[in-house]
């Protein structure tokens, strides 16, 4: 929140200036009817010229090439741009784990990573975990052990659970719980989630 006693014009930024000048240019160059459209497009043109950054990354084995504003988080890029909405926003502060994805094989809170920080990286989201119609063993184990209720934290839990096994933090239920404690489940499915992880670990399937 801004202090309420600031003078009105103090908030005008460089972008406001660019925008206003663009409108002036547009008015000068185009007939009146096109002014509104020019104004809208100007925003995009200026953003692309001055504020967007090229990004190349791979998500679920598919290469993406894009221009993104540097302030866009990986989470919002996945959800709003790529429409990969399996990755969830629960806090936007790295405190709940709902947005967990794998970046080059490591579990990462995608809300704490800007999209542009992932240049050249390989991202795996919940949508990329299954092998076609065959569920990943962890996905199947979550269903078998009812490791969720509302399902909102589930994508993050599963991505974290897979990483937990890969990291080798599964020697006991207590160790699993400790290394899964970055993923909050408000429905309280924790015992079932631990059961699912133990089951996959003991099943010996490659995760």
């Amino acid at each position: 929140m801004k202090p309420s006693d600031q003078k009105p014009n103090q908030g005008d930024s460089r972008r406001d200036f660019l925008k206003k000048s663009s409108v002036i240019t547009a008015i000068a160059l185009t007939p009146g009817i096109a002014v509104k459209a020019a104004e809208n497009n100007a925003d995009e043109r200026f953003a692309e010229l001055f504020e967007k950054i090229p990004l190349n990354l791979t998500v679920n084995n598919k290469a993406y090439k894009a221009l993104v504003e540097p302030r866009v988080t990986l989470l919002d890029y996945l959800r709003e741009e790529l429409h990969l909405t399996g990755t969830k926003k629960g806090c936007d502060h790295g405190q709940c784990g709902a947005c967990t994805v794998h970046v080059d094989g490591q579990r990462v809170n995608s809300c704490l990573s800007l999209a542009v920080m992932n240049e050249g990286k390989k991202i795996t989201t919940i949508e990329g975990l299954a092998d076609g119609d065959t569920l990943h063993p962890m996905q199947a184990a979550f269903i078998k052990h009812d490791g969720f209720q509302c399902g909102y934290c589930t994508s993050g839990q599963i991505m974290s659970a897979v990483a937990c096994i890969r990291e080798g933090h599964t020697s006991s239920r207590a160790e699993i719980s400790e290394y899964m404690s970055g993923n909050i489940c408000r429905c309280g499915a924790y015992p079932n989630i631990v059961d699912a992880i133990v089951d996959v670990k003991e099943g010996g399937a490659t995760v």
Binding site: K2, S4, D5, Q6, G11, D12, R15, D16, K19, D43, F46, E69, E80, H83, L84, T85, G86, T87, K89, C91, D92, H93, Q95, C96, I126, E127, L129, A130, L135, Q139, F142, I143, D146, F148, Q149, C150, G151, Y152, C153, S155, A174, I176, S177, E178, M180, S181, G182, N183, I184, C185, R186, C187, G188, A189, Y190, P191, N192, I193, V194, D195
Partner: protein, 707 residues
């Protein structure tokens, strides 16, 4: 850990969608021309907006509009006198810190977020008070009756009892904090056609609220809410932020999506209100209760009254001829509360079940024996028999599983190094509700059954329960049954709250299935087929692709003749560290007595969830306000502590699983609330048993243990 007591192991019907990320929650629908709204909120706690400068925001890149009380579109109901005091964008009054005062709409989320930071408000500030305890002490502060006073026998009989106690219990504000952030997508089209994608526990309720506020016909409004990322009560109403979003869409003629922040989840969508309660208990020397007095004060807002059933349990849970209760609400300058899981009953049960434990200790009785001794055969409040109640059996199962015989009645007896071990028990009870609902069933010649109702699933597994009811009656495999919900155009059903969905909607599913079966039998008879012929053959023989039936279902007269409740018993073992004051819940046994268990797997998960929520209520959860500013100071998941995996021990869930003969055709009673109600008292009682320290203020944090 014994896990599978009940045989049926059917998986959640929407499991695959949830584990693959395909389940779509409200914010995940792509609409052409979708825009993003971000709310600007008040930075003062009470007063008036004197100026709102939106120019910089309007000029910021990508911004389409800023909507506030200065330029809002018409919301017909808000233009009339009276009605709700919180008429968003129809008032310049500030009722609490963090109240939405404007919405900035832009073409991306980032642009809307930035532009929202450019809106500048000026205010005329007024004196305020956000401190409930302070208001309670202030003789000038308003205290409103929250429930009619209740009296049976002699008032305050405990005062003259052979053994008596009177204690006060404090509960802080708790915040629901479902994992999914609240919000809505609103799409206002020409001719007043409105489509919303909502996070709601009731699609019909959301539809009705929008219709009422904007004075447009219900049929103009389509509410979609197939998947809801948890609610716990906070999505039982349509909040001002949702109306603001609908207004914004109406204003710009495009769909607008708002997803609020975790910080805003503390201020915009309700809380479990703080409460201060006094319990007076009297007993004779043999341990018979002779008087119960329960007086409670709950917090509410200044602009809307909120009440809940804090003192309900005291009226019938124990055999006692002299009972009196009172409940008042005290307004403070905070957002209005809303029911949170177990609602008022969970608040009340913490006090009553702690006091019962204290009385047992005063009598030098085992608290379990004390409860059994005072267990009523009939409901003394309603003067009716219970429809079903198997509490004594539940006590026995739970005691055996937790190892109650290891408990010593003398506190502080079990010590191992720095850890002190204690055992606690408590009871939970909640009204076994059944409302009125309609379900449509379509039985198809391809062997499938489609069921539809405008109910919700915030997580308990509504679709799974309904599918299993139909599966049992129709003998159609689960994978051939589809249950559709979360759509306001389907046959009406009440909101998902008060542990009523399975009982209410399940009864309508039952009735639809019975009707479909008799329709098939009739068709079979008319076409000279065997009465037991398969419905696929019957439909094919009659050249029918499908038959459909819609049924409305509600309770009959039975509900007037019986007192209907669900019960739970929670047993916990805790370990308390003598030097650090850390409390660890080391073992939990919960027993549910809620009639027939229709869907064992999801029912067990609900009990687990209640216990986990109970750990939070008992040990960690408290929404803290800096009363100098009227602002929450721990409004995020790093500072507001909900239980994580490492906080949760093995939980042994048990069900009595005996049908209630009167409530509904399934004999099933709700269990979402009882899973949590009473749990916090079991922890407090166990901490006392471990340490001899009685803690009457939640949460039981180390400072209180060591104090």
């Amino acid at each position: 850990m014994e896990k599978k007591i009940l045989k049926d192991d059917t998986d959640r019907v929407d499991g695959i969608l949830k584990v693959t990320g395909q389940a779509k929650y409200f914010a995940e629908y792509e609409l052409p021309g979708l825009t993003y709204g971000v709310l600007v909120t008040s930075t003062i706690t009470k007063g008036k907006i004197t100026g709102l400068d939106t120019r910089a925001a309007e000029n910021a890149p990508g911004v389409i509009a800023v909507v506030s009380h200065l330029n809002k579109p018409s919301a017909a109901a808000y233009e009339q006198e009276g009605g709700p005091q919180m008429k968003i964008f129809y008032t310049d009054k500030i009722f609490y810190n963090g109240q939405p005062i404007a919405i900035v709409v832009a073409n991306t989320f980032e642009r809307a977020t930035y532009a929202a930071s450019l809106v500048k408000a000026t205010y005329a500030k007024e004196e305020f008070n956000t401190d409930f305890a302070k208001a309670l002490k202030d003789p000038k502060a308003k205290k409103l009756q929250g429930q009619a006073d209740y009296k049976r026998g002699i008032e305050n009989a405990y005062k003259t009892a052979e053994v008596k106690l009177e204690e006060r219990y404090f509960l802080p504000i708790e915040t629901h904090n479902p994992m999914e952030l609240h919000g809505i997508i609103a799409d206002w089209r020409p001719n007043n056609q409105v489509t919303v994608y909502a996070k709601t526990q009731g699609v019909k309720a959301t539809q009705g609220t929008i219709a009422n506020v904007f004075k447009i016909p219900m049929e103009n409004i389509q509410v979609n809410s197939e998947f809801v990322g948890g609610g716990f009560g906070m999505a039982l109403r349509t909040w001002p932020l949702e109306i603001a979003t609908v207004m914004a869409s109406k204003h710009i003629g495009k769909p607008v999506k708002v997803v609020i922040t975790r910080m805003q989840m503390f201020t915009m969508v309700g809380n479990r209100p703080a409460a201060i309660q006094t319990i007076g208990l009297g007993a004779d020397k043999d341990g018979k209760l002779t008087g119960i007095t329960h007086r409670a004060y709950g917090e509410t807002s200044t602009y809307e009254n909120f009440t809940e059933g804090v003192v309900n349990m005291a009226k019938f849970m124990y055999q006692c001829d002299n009972v009196n209760t009172s409940y008042a609400i005290v307004p403070v300058d905070l957002g209005v509360p809303i029911w949170m899981r177990g609602p008022g009953e969970a608040t009340g049960a913490f006090a009553l079940e702690s006091a019962i434990d204290e009385m047992a200790h005063a009598l030098d009785m085992d608290p379990l024996d004390f409860r059994i001794k005072n267990d009523p055969e009939t409901d003394q409040q309603k003067n009716k028999p219970f429809s079903s109640k198997n509490i004594k059996e539940a006590y026995k199962i739970g005691a055996e599983k937790i190892g109650w015989s290891n408990r010593k009645n003398k506190p502080g007896s079990l010590v191992e190094g720095p850890w002190q071990t204690g055992y606690g028990v408590s009871v939970g009870v909640f009204n076994a509700n059944r409302g009125k609902a309609s379900v449509k069933g379509v039985l198809k010649a391809d062997g499938s059954l489609l069921l539809q109702s405008a109910t919700s699933d915030i997580g308990p597994g509504t679709g799974t329960g309904m599918t299993l009811i139909a599966n049992k009656l129709m003998k159609i495999p689960v994978n051939k049954i589809t249950f559709e919900l979360g759509d306001s155009s389907l046959p009406p059903a009440p909101s998902q709250g008060g542990s009523a969905t399975l009982s209410t909607v399940g009864s309508a599913v039952n009735d639809v299935c019975v009707a479909l079966k008799s329709a098939i039998a009739e068709l079979a008879a008319n076409s000279n087929m065997d009465a037991t012929a398969n419905f696929v053959e019957v439909l094919k023989k009659n050249n029918l692709p499908a038959i459909e039936v819609t049924k409305e279902s509600q309770s009959g007269k039975e509900k007037d003749n019986y007192s209907m409740y669900s019960f739970s018993i929670h047993f916990v073992q805790v370990k308390v560290h003598a030097l650090t004051g850390v409390v660890k819940v080391s073992k939990i046994v919960s027993v549910g007595d809620s009639g027939t268990i229709v869907s064992p797997k999801t029912a067990r998960s609900q009990m687990l969830g209640g216990a986990v929520g109970g750990i939070g209520m008992a040990l960690t959860e408290e929404s803290i306000i800096d009363h100098r500013y009227g602002r929450y100071i721990n409004n995020n998941f790093a500072d507001y502590h909900v239980p994580v995996s490492a906080d949760v021990p093995e939980i042994d869930v048990n069900f009595i699983n005996k049908p209630d003969p009167y409530i509904n055709p399934m004999g099933a009673k709700g269990m979402g609330e009882i899973a949590l109600i009473g749990f916090s008292a079991a922890v407090a009682n166990a901490v006392f048993n471990a340490t001899g320290k009685r803690i009457r203020t939640l949460p039981i944090t180390p400072d209180k243990v060591l104090a």
